[in-house]
């Protein structure tokens, strides 16, 4: 059975979680506007060497979650509640300077658009060495060979020349590799990848994903993978958290979740991915509507208006988050398990 196979796969990660997000709530309180809860009580764990996916449509709060973990949300107008435990310390109560020390050293992050995420007027080499200079106390000179090694490791050919190149001289895939080199230069224990392949060509996407997988498996880095595309994470993640309107609606290890999605939203996401091995003639079924149709979580299921199988209680009561081992679900009327 798939369950048992999956359990043996995850057993290797059964130590204490490295990063533990507890009831994370992020509220934007913009002047003169109603406060907006972008992330609403999100909890999940990441163990060393594990890859966890946060999946959802744009606006579901996945990027805000990652910025909150990194301490990169603006100070004013944002309220962050809950806990982000890293090795036992709550990152949310750390001072600005303490977080500055951790970013790049303990926590690394790579972003969606590699071109705009690289400083256009600073050579790639300097953008890699500056992390080493900052966290390892190395001089520029001492850091350069390490930077070269790093570029080589992420598969950038001719790293000696590339050190002096500027971002606009690199191709899209090379830029993303360079960003990964920067994020991993100090071998952080946690790497957050926010849609790392969205801006890239499909062929390059696969290369970058393979590279990420290889790097985290070699170094035992925990990877938090943020994406809107379940297809992207299918071959990479151990565990998936599906977010909808700021809350986790379904969680599970990769195989069982893909095989038997219980939440109609997850089900919908999976049905909207084209499959090569699917039967001929099966139509893709998109999820109707958009995030703007959402209901408030307060006394309903936010997804109800777009749901394929809503029942009366869906618009009357907030569905509870029911955990059952590695699986967890927030739904009044889950999809039947087909055998």
């Amino acid at each position: 059975m798939t369950e048992t196979i999956e359990n043996t796969r995850t057993r290797g990660h059964s130590e204490e979680p490295l990063l533990s997000v507890r009831d994370l709530t992020v509220t934007f309180t913009r002047q003169g506007e109603k406060p907006f809860v972008a992330v609403d009580g999100v909890s999940f764990d990441v163990r060393p060497g594990q890859t966890v996916g946060l999946v959802g449509e744009s606006g579901c709060g996945k990027s805000v979650t990652s910025l909150a973990i990194m301490g990169l949300l603006p100070q004013r107008g944002v309220r962050v509640e809950g806990e982000v435990l890293y090795g036992g310390t709550n990152l949310l109560t750390q001072s600005k300077e303490q977080m500055r020390d951790r970013r790049g050293r303990d926590l690394g992050m790579i972003f969606q658009d590699p071109l705009s995420s690289l400083n256009p007027v600073v050579p790639i080499g300097v953008q890699v060495t500056e992390v080493l200079e900052r966290h390892k106390g190395l001089s520029r000179k001492a850091a350069t060979p390490l930077a070269r090694e790093m570029l080589d490791k992420v598969g950038i050919p001719d790293p000696n020349r590339r050190l002096k190149d500027y971002p606009h001289q690199l191709s899209g895939g090379m830029r993303q590799r360079a960003l990964i080199a920067m994020a991993l230069a100090c071998a952080p224990k946690v790497l957050i990848a926010d849609e790392p392949t969205t801006a890239l060509d499909v062929t390059i996407q696969a290369q970058i994903l393979a590279l990420l997988k290889e790097l985290v498996e070699d170094s035992g880095t925990a990877l938090v993978m943020i994406t809107h595309d379940l297809g992207v994470v299918a071959g990479l993640v151990d565990r998936i958290n599906v977010l909808y309107a700021g809350r986790i609606v379904e969680r599970g290890d990769r195989h069982p979740l893909f095989a038997q999605p219980r939440h109609p939203y997850t089900h919908g996401l999976l049905s909207s991915i084209p499959r090569l091995d699917g039967e001929r003639g099966t139509k893709l079924t998109p999820i109707p509507g958009s995030v703007s149709d959402n209901l408030p979580w307060a006394n309903a299921c936010a997804f109800a208006p777009r749901c394929s199988q809503p029942i009366d209680v869906c618009v009357e009561k907030t569905p509870e988050f029911v955990e059952d081992g590695p699986r967890a679900l927030r739904c009044h009327n889950p999809v039947e398990v087909s055998r």
Binding site: L72, R102, G108, F111, S116, P120, V121, V126
Partner: protein, 336 residues
């Protein structure tokens, strides 16, 4: 890079040729015509006739323009009639140019030294009282007529408080040695430090008055540009790497934010020349600006054509230099 500079140089030559044509046409359209333009309106008929012949005014227009160009290239624009009567107009310009250059340099120094840090601080503290105050202050700075501000400064700090000298570039009783025509530099070179100090004191009020508009512009461009850059993804990347504030500020924010500021500084040189015309007049500075102001009131067209041509050429050259500087600091332009 070399091709880029060559192309710009060629463009510059084009601009100067068109400019000379405009100045030529302008001279011919002046009330009284070219002869009065050169000799002034009070010249005797005999001299007028002689000059008309000498200038070949009976010749077709394009021949006249060619003659004008030939003389212009040799720096012959006739004699001054109003500013320093009898002196060669080109000579008047050359004598006075260092004075204006020195004043403009200090004004620009003030404007940059105050504009960039204040603009950066305002952007970092946006919506604070400091930000609001400095934005409104910069707008007021643009709204105040330069010569009125010059009068105010002179009235308050020179005439009322006696803190600073009223006018001129240096106390003539010091009898300072002249080397370059830049009085502060001369004082330093000849080790006549009292002369340098005196020249510096003379510089403060006029360069402050002259600095207001470039300051306001540089401040506002810096502020807007820093605000734009702070929103960029690469600044967030820098933050995600845990870099120190110093590195983020210098390498990631300012190095990008200053690119448009550099262009702006180049464009301000034109404004400086305008401001110099007004400021130098108030402080009897003895530079190009004052010469232009006097030349207009006394209709000294010989001096005027030199000054207009040279002012425009200076502006074009400075902007060429700025473009080259831009190419040096922005790798995206350099490698194109």
């Amino acid at each position: 890079m070399l091709r880029f500079i060559l192309r710009r140089l060629l463009q510059m030559v084009g601009v100067v040729v068109v400019l000379s044509l405009l100045v030529f046409l302008w001279l011919r359209s002046l009330p009284g015509g070219t002869v009065s333009a050169i000799l002034g309106e009070k010249a005797t008929p005999a001299r007028r006739a002689a000059l008309e012949k000498a200038l070949g005014l009976d010749q077709p227009l394009y021949v006249q323009y060619w003659q004008f160009l030939k003389r212009a290239v040799q720096g012959q624009f006739g004699s001054s009639t109003g500013v320093q009567p009898g002196v060669d107009a080109m000579q008047v310009f050359v004598q006075r140019f260092p004075a204006t250059l020195e004043l403009s340099f200090f004004a620009l120094l003030f404007a940059i030294a105050a504009g960039i840090p204040l603009g950066y601080m305002a952007a970092r503290r946006r919506t604070s009282w400091f930000d609001n105050l400095s934005v409104v202050g910069s707008l007021i700075g643009v709204a105040v007529p330069v010569f009125f501000l010059a009068f105010l400064l002179k009235y308050w700090f020179a005439i009322n408080l006696h803190w600073l000298p009223v006018s001129g570039r240096q106390d003539p009783s010091l009898d300072a040695t002249r080397v370059t025509g830049f009085f502060v530099l001369d004082g330093l070179l000849t080790r006549e430090y009292d002369a340098a100090w005196d020249a510096l004191k003379h510089l403060i009020l006029p360069s402050l008055a002259l600095a207001t508009i470039p300051f306001a512009v540089i401040f506002r461009i810096t502020r807007a540009s820093v605000l734009d850059v702070m929103d960029e993804d690469y600044v967030r990347t820098a933050e995600s790497k845990g870099l120190t504030n110093k590195v983020i500020r210098g390498r990631h924010i300012l190095r990008n934010a200053l690119l448009p500021v550099v262009t702006t500084i180049g464009l301000q040189t034109g404004g400086l020349l305008v401001g110099a015309v007004l400021t130098e007049r108030v402080f009897s500075w003895g530079g190009i600006g004052e010469a232009v102001a006097v030349a207009f009131t006394r209709r000294d067209y010989a001096v005027l054509q030199v000054c207009i041509l040279m002012a425009a050429i200076t502006f074009v050259v400075i902007n060429l230099l700025v473009d080259i500087a831009y190419a040096v600091i922005d790798p995206r332009v350099r490698t194109r």
